[in-house]
Every structure is written in structure tokens, then in C-alpha cells.
Amino acid sequence: MDLNEKELIANLKSEASREQAFQLLVKMYQQRLYWHIRKIVMNHDDTDDILQNVFIKVWKNIESFREDSSLFTWLFRIATNESLSHLQKQKRHSLVSINEIGDYLSESLESDVYFEGDEIQRKFQLAILQLPNKQRIVFNMKYFDEMKYEEISLVLKTSVGALKASYHFAVKKIEEFLKEDPK
């Protein structure tokens, strides 16, 4: 935890400077958190709701933040949990089975007006969506966000070894998917 982050946390915990520090926190992390959430739930509107919920949770609970982890890790953990809860809710409401979540998200991708990738990127995203949720999160964090295993380990509370294995299997599955359906 660097000095700036410590200062930011101290300001967030102080009632006098909280508003200003919170604005700074939002500016610093909104984009990274947005893209992290977006890659999990795919849909922009859902991502927007979840991102707001994440920051509201931070606002409400900042005083109880124990500083065991960095602010970044804490924020990413909240965002990941909120996104997974959202998928669970979707599953309950639409009676979608866990295996069909990938199909549900694929449909969401196909109808997404904010998707501007080419055919190869669409195919690649569809391949990623076939992965189980947690494996997909590991793949996204490693491949797109280029996070270190140690950082991912802190966010997901999973051992580095398990993460490496998860990423390895994810890559294999994506390759298989692209091989089977290269159109």
C-alpha cells in the first residue's frame, strides 16, 4: 500500500474529507471496475447498476475497511462478488441452469448494441463465455487486465497454483471451442 493510497483511505475514513476523497476514488477506479464487471455480466445497463452498487457499498463500509488488503483488491473483490451475485439472481429469476448461463450471456452479447468488435473478436468472446464463471473471471483478469497471479489471488482468495491451473484449462477450452467452430 503506497503513501497516496494510505492518505486516500485516511481521508475516506475522516468525515470532514470523505466527500472529496470519495470523488477522487470514483475517478481513479471507475473505468477499471467498469470493464472488470462488464466482462463478467456483458450487458452495459447491468454493469452500470452493479458499478453504482459497488461504490455505494464502499461509501457505506469505508469506516469498517480493515486495510488488510489494498484498496484496489478490496474494490475488485466487491465488484467480483456483486457481479457473481447478479448472475445468480439472473439464474434464479429466469430459471436458467448453471450450464445455460453461458448461452444466456452469449445471447446478451449477440444483442449488445455496445459491442463494436469484429467477427474474430465476437467469436473469441463467445468462446470465453463458454467457460464456467470463475474460470472466465480468472481468464479475463489474466489475459485482458494482465494482472499478476498474486494480485488475482488476493482478489479471488484463491491460491496462485489453482489460478494457474484454472487459466491453463481456460486457454485450452477456448482453443478447443475455436477449433470446433472456426466459422
Binding site: 470523488q23 470514483v26 475517478k27 471507475q30 473505468q31 467498469y34 470493464w35 462488464r38 466482462k39 452495459h44 452500470d48 458499478l51 453504482q52 461504490f55 455505494i56 461509501w59 457505506k60 449488445d112 455496445y114 459491442f115 463494436e116 468488435g117 469484429d118 474474430i120 473478436q121 465476437r122 473469441f124 468472446q125 489475459y143 485482458f144 494482465e146 486457454v171 477456448i174 482453443e175 475455436l178 477449433k179 472456426p182
Partner: protein, 153 residues
């Protein structure tokens, strides 16, 4: 087959790491403002919830008192004879009792002095010694109909 694998690996390796998604225009520029609105709403609802939590025990006690009153009062009023009915009945009985020899006292006051004197002089069996309010009322009741009593005045 080998050539196909090479192509796939080549494709996977060359895939752009930039996200293929985009966001609505000015989304990130306006996000903080929208978030502030949400936080204000949350704060307001929190204060409302706090007030409700504060007053909840008092409201519960008040509700229990009202409910107990209703549970006691309604069966009592349903099961016991009505007091108001008794009062009305008593009042009508009192009016009857206020009458003299069956004629309501109010009717006697309707007679003029001439009527009363004429009645007095015409009567053989009514002398000054026995002239009392009761006797006079009995006489009037015997000699005049209710219609005459009411219309002559």
C-alpha cells in the same frame, strides 16, 4: 489438421487485447454525478428508515393499546344492553310520569285562562275547595278531546 491448429494459435495469439465493447457517450464523465444522486437517495431512505426504527416501538405500543381497546370495547358493547337505549326509554317514561292523570303537563299549559275559567264555572262537581292541578287535568281530559285542546289555542 496441423495447419489448422497453427492458424487457431496464430488467431488466438494475435487477438487484440483491447475490449471490443464500448460505452454510451460521456458515460464515465457523468458517472460520478449519477452516483451522487444515488448516494443522496440512499441517505434519505436511510434517515427515513432510522426514524421508522426509532418510532417503531412507540407505534407498536400504540397499536397494541388500540387493538386491546377494540377487543375489549366491541364485545362489551355487543354483549351488554345498550345504555343509550335505556336513556331514551327512561326519558319517554319520565315524560309520561310528568303528565297529570294521563294528560301530559305540556298540554295543560296550552289552555288559555278563559278556557280554564269556563271549565271551572261550568263544572258542577268541581268547586274551589277541590281545585287542584290534578283535578283540573282530570276534568279537561274528561270533557275535551285532544283535537279541541290543541286547536282552540
Amino acid at each position: 489438421m496441423k495447419e489448422k491448429n497453427v492458424n487457431i494459435e496464430h488467431l488466438f495469439g494475435k487477438l487484440k487485447k483491447e475490449t471490443p465493447f464500448r460505452v454510451p457517450e460521456n458515460y464515465f464523465e457523468t458517472f460520478a454525478d449519477r452516483l451522487n444522486v444515488r448516494i443522496q437517495e440512499e441517505k434519505n431512505s436511510y434517515y427515513k428508515r432510522s426514524l421508522f426504527i426509532y418510532f417503531k416501538p412507540m407505534m407498536a405500543v400504540a397499536a397494541i393499546l388500540v387493538l386491546s381497546m377494540l377487543l375489549i370495547y366491541i364485545p362489551i358493547t355487543k354483549l351488554l344492553p345498550s345504555d343509550s337505549g335505556n336513556i331514551v326509554q327512561n326519558r319517554s317514561e319520565k315524560n309520561v310520569n310528568d303528565s297529570v292523570s294521563g294528560i301530559p303537563a305540556a298540554l295543560i299549559s296550552n289552555f288559555s285562562e278563559e278556557q280554564l275559567l269556563a271549565a271551572f264555572s261550568a263544572s258542577n262537581d268541581l268547586d274551589s275547595k277541590t281545585l287542584t292541578a290534578d283535578n283540573l287535568a282530570v276534568y279537561i281530559a274528561d270533557n275535551y278531546s285532544s283535537y279541541e285542546i290543541l286547536t282552540d289555542n
